[in-house]
């Protein structure tokens, strides 16, 4: 009788535990480790969902059980989807004609769409809690003759739409991916290398220097603390950017 009681108790506890796990999002716990990817990525992961850009739509997949992937939904957007970048409950999608901002406080849906248009160009996007930085590049696929770094600000409250506002822009040569690490903004610009910026009081990029990259063509970067992993045409390089102005150090190149 005692055993049955204990058994039932264990059963109830287990069931409750399972119910709680299902009911609550576990992505913010330390047990969930999500990879860092570059600004040109077309896959994003947030709250146990994989967001994958298609040609003109986005697929949302529940990856909580990776042995049993399940499609949550597929939303039609528009042609020319280029890159995706989540920050908290905001999700930004760079397209050839502008930036989409979405609210993903409900991770199963891209809701409250907002769109801010720019000139037609390729555009990787990065963001922090209030700024959006993106590059616009001329190219055969992107049909234009503009090469710019642009700064926008945004706000988003609760389940409301992202409110985006254009602030300023900086001329570039042929910009690719970009990376943000709190102190600096790094922008791949071909053929010169990596352009290093700090920020003005309102978060706008303030150009400091160009770091040559031994003749490699810089395509994208991932910031990891005071390190920077650089993707280039021959492979990748690991850099130390503790003091990027005086000592931008290439630690190792794999090619």
């Amino acid at each position: 009788m005692k055993n049955v009681l204990i058994g039932s108790l264990v059963f109830i506890v287990v069931v409750t535990a399972i119910a709680c796990t299902k009911g609550f999002d576990t992505s913010s716990t330390s047990s969930t480790a999500v990879a860092s990817v570059g600004s040109t990525a077309r896959f994003a992961i947030s709250k146990n969902r994989l967001y994958a850009l298609g040609k003109a739509d986005i697929g949302i997949v529940d990856i909580a059980d990776p042995q049993n992937l399940s499609i949550v939904t597929r939303q039609n957007l528009r042609e020319g989807l280029e890159t995706i970048y989540p920050f908290g409950d905001a999700l930004f999608i760079g397209t050839t004609t502008g930036v989409y901002g979405y609210n993903i406080s409900n991770p199963n849906l891209l809701s409250a769409p907002s769109f801010i248009s720019h000139l037609t160009a390729c555009d990787p996007v990065v963001a922090d809690s209030k700024n959006i930085y993106l590059t616009l590049r001329a190219g055969t696929r992107c049909n234009n003759n503009i090469n710019l770094l642009q700064h926008y600000t945004y706000t988003m409250q609760g389940s409301n739409a992202v409110q985006m506002k254009y602030v300023t822009q900086v001329n570039m040569n042929s910009p690719r991916g970009l990376a943000l690490n709190g102190q600096n903004l790094f922008v791949c610009d071909i053929p010169s290398g990596i352009k290093v910026f700090n920020f003005t009081a309102n978060g706008s990029p303030n150009y400091i220097k160009t770091q040559p990259l031994d003749g490699y063509e810089c395509y994208d970067m991932i910031p990891v603390g005071n390190k920077l992993i650089v993707q280039h045409d021959k492979g990748l390089s690991f850099c130390d950017v503790t003091d990027p102005v005086n000592n931008f150090m290439v630690l190792k190149t794999i090619e």
């Binding site: 040109t40 990525a41 896959f43 994958a52 990776p66 992993i229």
Partner: protein
């Protein structure tokens, strides 16, 4: 008899090869271009480290960094000590263009499919976990990027193109506009 037939065949082949070479001597030029990868190939496996062919997007998690080789797979790089980082393996994923990772599980596009792969600490733990077929139905419709790029002409009987790989081509008759 069989052997004679074979010899005749070889001889004819040799003769036609000479003819072919002769006819094309002026224009038999080798150029770097791209060859299509067709959708039928879904063989994902863990291989030893290898050289880059067309290095692409990067990703990092914990002590590992990953780099796509467009159309062929993912280079695995041990990077706990970045100054001494080195390639340790290669995950072959035909027709790959994108990747992401959570909790040691890699998510990739393998042609038109979305696939989850557990890497594990040891090679023998490497395992394809799940696959959603045709998750990217519109993938691979485009030609190699750039203008004036040579490519091997598409043979639609081989399936649908899901990617392009670098290849030395001889007298290619297809080129992007």
């Amino acid at each position: 008899m069989k052997s004679i037939t074979l010899q005749m065949f070889t001889c004819c082949l040799f003769a036609s090869a000479i003819l072919f070479v002769a006819c094309n001597r002026q224009s038999n030029k080798k150029v770097q271009g791209y060859a299509p990868i067709y959708s039928a190939d879904n063989n994902i496996q863990m291989l030893p480290a290898k050289a880059y062919i067309m290095p692409g997007k990067i990703m990092t998690l914990g002590s590992l960094t990953f780099q796509i080789d467009y159309g062929s797979g993912v280079h695995v790089i041990e990077s706990a000590d970045m100054a001494n980082a080195k390639k340790t393996g290669f995950i072959s994923v035909p027709a790959i263009t994108e990747m992401h990772m959570q909790n040691g599980v890699l998510f990739v596009d393998n042609g038109r499919d979305l696939v989850s792969i557990r890497l594990g600490n040891a090679l023998e733990n490497f395992q394809v976990l799940d696959r959603i077929t045709n998750f990217f139905p519109d993938k691979g419709m485009s030609l190699p990027s750039g203008s004036g790029v040579y490519f091997e002409c598409v043979d639609s009987t081989k399936g649908v193109i899901t990617g392009w790989e670098k290849k030395e081509l001889i007298n290619p008759s297809c080129r992007t506009i």
